[in-house]
Symmetry: C2
Subunit: 231 residues, 2 copies
DNA sequence: AAAGATATTGTACTTTTGACAATAATTAGG
DNA sequence: CCTAATTATTGTCAAAAGTACAATATCTTT
């Protein structure tokens, strides 16, 4: 049987990389950090690091994200695992990507530890990244778009209070096609929304009503009926 | 920064596990092998083993599947990665699950190497398995059911020539609900099928026509129209 | 040739979708 | 205050897709 030999720290190890998505100005953005250590010192990258030997990988994802960006309490979902033997220049490092959604406005992103700088970058303007992070990001982005279509996660990207038009714009982005306003409203009828008394402010026209996702009612609905979300 | 130390072979390594699904007698089955070495000697398990240090993980999945079961040329898809630090009794082993579909009749399964015995087991009668393989299997099974609903993969499970009723039964299984025969046929109208001249044999009633999936025509259709598979 | 069994097709009704039009509520400028 | 401009919101109608159920067709068995 094959015998594996270890030489040093980097011979065989495991990491996680966190793709954090946000939405502003009509576009999905990803959170990038600027690396301040080798390898790829000075390159942009998605936040990631090695998993401790006795640490669960999803716990590692939360820890590493927090260490590098101060972001806490995000719901991280597993994406894909990347195992090309040459993906890391210093040895064999297999990595699992995680992703999470957040409202960009909710957090002032603050880099810490060995990440000097952090920035939200529109998904279609991602520069050359460290390691195989461009690959990781594009695979995970595809997964995000798929999830947007099949799960009510748009509300994690939109502000807490949003207009139906803002919601529609996000789906138009996901499907890359325009939708009819009246028909869109018909389609989302079954999704329980809280209707606020407030309206949009600072617009030069009739202001739209503000809504929020009624998550507890949505959970009820899933239990009591056989509703299946699909946009 | 955290310093990782290695003690022996099993301190930190990486494996793949292959979930092979088949369909017969109206039920999805998984291919299990009986282990003939420690740990979990004598237990049933899904085929899996360690990845070589310079081997791509998807290549490892193919190699290991072939070594343990003689099965070759299956289209393996990545499923989930499992990283509980205690999932392996001898050390830290993170594993990525892969899955594939096959026509049970196409292969006489033949165990080799350290797997003494192999067996197709209905998914609802899976015994206690080695490691966290029950968890891996059930997660991957959920993924399979989801894929069955959203991709034309039923044809990888059905015999090459199948009746429309056989196809319907598979979807009834996936959705766990009965369907109307006439309506089912209307629904699958857009899926290109090759109609054979042969009919079912050895049945005590009017034999059904046999069909095959017309894959090349399906690919054409995807390119030329905006058809989206959904059952 | 008739009965039994399942395959295959047809019909009518209901629901959903899609295109487009009409009405409502604000702001901005006179 | 009145009117135009602008976007929000709701309504209508026909086409398409989905659902329930019935009718007909083809084979085996007796």
């Amino acid at each position: 049987m094959y015998k594996i030999e270890f030489n040093d720290f980097f011979t065989y190890s495991f990491s996680v990389d966190c793709v954090i998505f946000g939405y502003k100005e009509g576009q999905i953005h990803a959170l990038l950090i600027k690396r301040s250590m080798e390898p790829y010192d000075g390159h942009w990258a998605i936040p990631g690091d090695l998993v401790y030997p006795d640490e669960d990988i999803s716990a590692a994802a939360s820890r590493i994200l927090s260490e590098l960006t101060k972001i806490e309490n995000l719901d991280l979902h597993q994406s894909e695992t990347f195992g090309d033997p040459n993906r890391h220049p210093q040895g064999r490092v297999i990595t699992t990507a995680y992703f999470a959604l957040m409202r960009i406005d909710d957090f002032k992103v603050e880099a810490s530890s060995w990440a000097g700088e952090a920035r939200w970058v529109p998904i279609h303007k991602i520069p050359q990244l460290a390691f195989d992070h461009n690959l990781i990001l594009s695979s995970t982005y595809k997964l995000l778009i798929q999830k947007l279509k099949n799960d009510p996660i748009c509300f994690d990207l939109l502000p807490y209070k949003f207009t139906l038009n803002e919601m529609q714009k996000l789906y138009e982005y996901a499907y890359d096609s325009d939708m009819d306003k009246a028909n869109f409203r018909k389609k989302i009828k079954p999704i329980p929304l809280i209707e606020h008394k407030e309206k949009q402010v600072n617009v030069k026209h009739r202001p739209a009503k503000l809504f929020s996702f009624d998550e507890s009612e949505y959970v009820n609905m899933l239990e009591s009926s056989e509703y299946q979300f699909k946009m």
